[in-house]
């Protein structure tokens, strides 16, 4: 059995939060789907609420402090990412965006990503397609075709959720599992490795 790591980024603010609840549903379903494909997944969760000040500091200083460096390293080094945000003012939350603003622009290149969003009403559901998907397209991530939206009405049926939500979660988790299982384990690039081209080549390239 091969192994992969899944990073989960949740931008929920309350405890408990429906954003984290959706993230957990997506994570459990993805781990199950990977197991069915012969892959053991380890999961690391980044709760952005705990890094709210770290992120603001990073905007000001230009570097991530130690707790944030760990979170960034978790996401950059993972084989797959589940990213879930609440909808604020018709888009992802500022906290969610700030995390992806401070992430290295190449950190998600080619990485399989599953998107999720939550709101009080299903009228916000296109935020997934109109706001989140373009963001991850810019970051050159490989985004699963199904993104999952959960509104208050989806939770109304109790912990198990409505059949419709459960169906979307499983379809999306299967898509992410296919993408993750198909890729070799992640090996982040090292900017301090000896350069492939010499300085002479850099000079000649002018």
């Amino acid at each position: 059995m091969s192994t992969r790591t899944l990073a989960v980024v949740s931008a929920g603010l309350s405890v408990p939060s429906s954003t984290r609840l959706l993230a957990d549903r997506l994570t459990t379903a993805t781990v199950d789907a990977l197991r069915e494909r012969g892959v053991t997944a380890t999961v690391e969760v980044v709760e952005l609420r705990q890094h709210a000040r770290d992120l603001a500091d990073n905007l000001v200083t230009g570097f991530a402090n130690e707790p944030l460096r760990d979170a960034v390293g978790t996401v950059a080094g993972a084989d797959g990412l589940i990213a879930v945000t609440p909808v604020f003012s018709a888009s992802y939350s500022g906290l969610f965006k700030t995390f992806f603003d401070v992430l290295d622009k190449d950190a998600l290149t080619g990485k399989p990503v599953l998107l999720g969003a939550t709101a009080g009403t299903a009228r916000h559901s296109l935020v997934l397609e109109h706001a989140m998907r373009p963001l991850f397209a810019y970051l050159r991530a490989t985004v699963a075709p199904t993104a999952v939206f959960a509104a208050s009405e989806d939770w109304a049926g109790g912990d198990a959720g409505t059949p419709a939500l459960t169906g979307r979660v499983h379809r999306a988790a299967g898509e992410l599992a296919d993408l993750v299982a198909a890729r070799p384990p992640a090996a982040p690039a090292d900017p301090f490795a000896d350069p492939g081209t010499s300085f002479e080549d850099l000079l000649k390239g002018l």
């Binding site: 000001v60 402090n65 300085f199 002018l206």
Partner: protein, 381 residues
């Protein structure tokens, strides 16, 4: 090992009084600070270059020439010289000129500059930053080492039969450091030429500085200039000191909280943990600074930032007294005791002249000018 200070020439409101100095006042303050640096026994004074408010230092060689005339031993340097937006011909001329006026007490630190709007003011584009640094510096070296240069490149008009004057003092150009916070290409450039590498150090976590310096040292050895531990490394540092560390923290906090670069962000305590900033007693500064060696190895130059964020001149002069009397003498002794014999000191004009086999007069006498047809010899007859 060399110890000194570097300034960015910011004109910043003193947050404790609400008062903002005039350009004239701040400029005079920096001249006073430079002279005081020599008086308290520091080795180096380095001045930044900026072309927009709130900074005054648009013309570093003018300022450094004034300081050169008022000092005897102080090594004058830059932090940094914009190798991207300055014409390399003008850098070659200006700094050779300064080198003569200062009796050789000059070196430079090349930097790209990270202020996007500056580039177009000088006809350039920040997206070409690395390429500009590579091409301009390659030309600068030729202008200093070859008497007559034919050259063609991407970013400036070609040169044919061009001689940069004055020729470097004693036939030896100023030593060059390359400064970069985050670009391995610039550490690579420094290593390729066997030049010095300076890491600003003060804005980022130490582990980042460590990786950049390690990379430079490894590539320095790769290019055959010596062993990795013989590469020439400089570091920045940022300190504020009082006899009692809590007094230092209380006095510096408002300046920290409102500082232009990192103010209104992390707490003083967080930033002190994440970066080399040390606010406390002279003994704490000594211990922290000695600790830099643990992650960059034996290095050649330590510069401190002590005059930014609106600190009044009187306070800065007190900081210089503490550095000169209590901190640097101890650091000199401790670092010297730790340094193995095969690790070189920072190059100086004297050491570079000696390495070149002695001073040479490299004056290029004109054979005749195209206007009068007279030669230099004929003119002196």
């Amino acid at each position: 090992m060399q110890f000194g200070i570097f300034t960015v020439s910011d004109i910043t409101t003193d947050p404790t009084t609400g008062r903002t100095p005039s350009e004239a006042e701040r400029l005079q303050a920096v001249l006073t600070i430079a002279q005081k640096a020599e008086e308290v026994g520091l080795d180096v004074f380095a001045l930044g270059e900026h072309h927009n408010p709130p900074f005054f230092s648009s013309s570093p060689t003018t300022t450094l020439a004034w300081i050169a005339a008022r000092t005897e031993k102080l090594q004058l340097s830059t932090s940094t010289t914009l190798v991207t937006t300055n014409d390399p011909v003008k850098i070659a001329e200006d700094y050779a000129m300064l080198q003569h006026l200062a009796g050789g007490r000059v070196d430079l630190m090349m930097g790209r500059g990270n202020t996007g709007p500056v580039y177009p003011w000088f006809g350039q584009d920040i997206r070409n930053g690395i390429e500009l640094a590579v091409e301009n510096y390659a030309l600068l070296r030729r202008l200093w080492t070859e008497d007559v240069v034919d050259w063609q490149g991407k970013f400036r008009t070609p040169l044919q039969g061009f001689t940069s004057t004055p020729r470097p003092l004693d036939g030896v150009p100023p030593f060059v450091w390359h400064g970069s916070i985050r670009s391995p290409q610039i550490a690579e450039q420094a290593a390729y030429y066997g030049d010095g590498f300076f890491h600003n150090h003060i804005f980022w976590p130490a582990e980042h500085t460590q990786r950049m310096v390690e990379f430079y040292r490894r590539r320095y050895e790769h290019y055959g200039h010596g062993a990795a531990d013989q590469a020439i490394v400089g570091l920045g540092g940022q300190v504020f000191m009082r006899k009692n560390s809590q007094d230092a923290v209380n006095e510096f906090r408002p300046y920290f909280d409102n500082a232009p670069v990192y103010g209104h962000g992390p707490s003083l305590e967080d930033f002190s943990r994440e970066t080399p900033l040390t606010v406390g007693s002279p003994q704490q500064v000594i211990e922290r600074t000695l600790g830099f060696r643990d992650y960059v190895g034996d290095y050649q130059r330590q510069l401190f930032l002590i005059d930014h964020a609106g600190l009044p001149l009187k306070t800065v002069l007190e900081q210089l007294d503490i550095l000169g009397e209590e901190v640097v003498p101890v650091l000199r002794k401790e670092f010297a005791a730790l340094k193995p014999a095969h690790v070189p000191d920072a190059p100086t004009h004297a050491s570079r002249v000696a390495a070149a086999g002695g001073a040479k007069d490299t004056t290029v006498h004109a054979e005749g000018d195209s206007v009068t047809g007279r030669t230099a010899e004929a003119a002196t007859r």
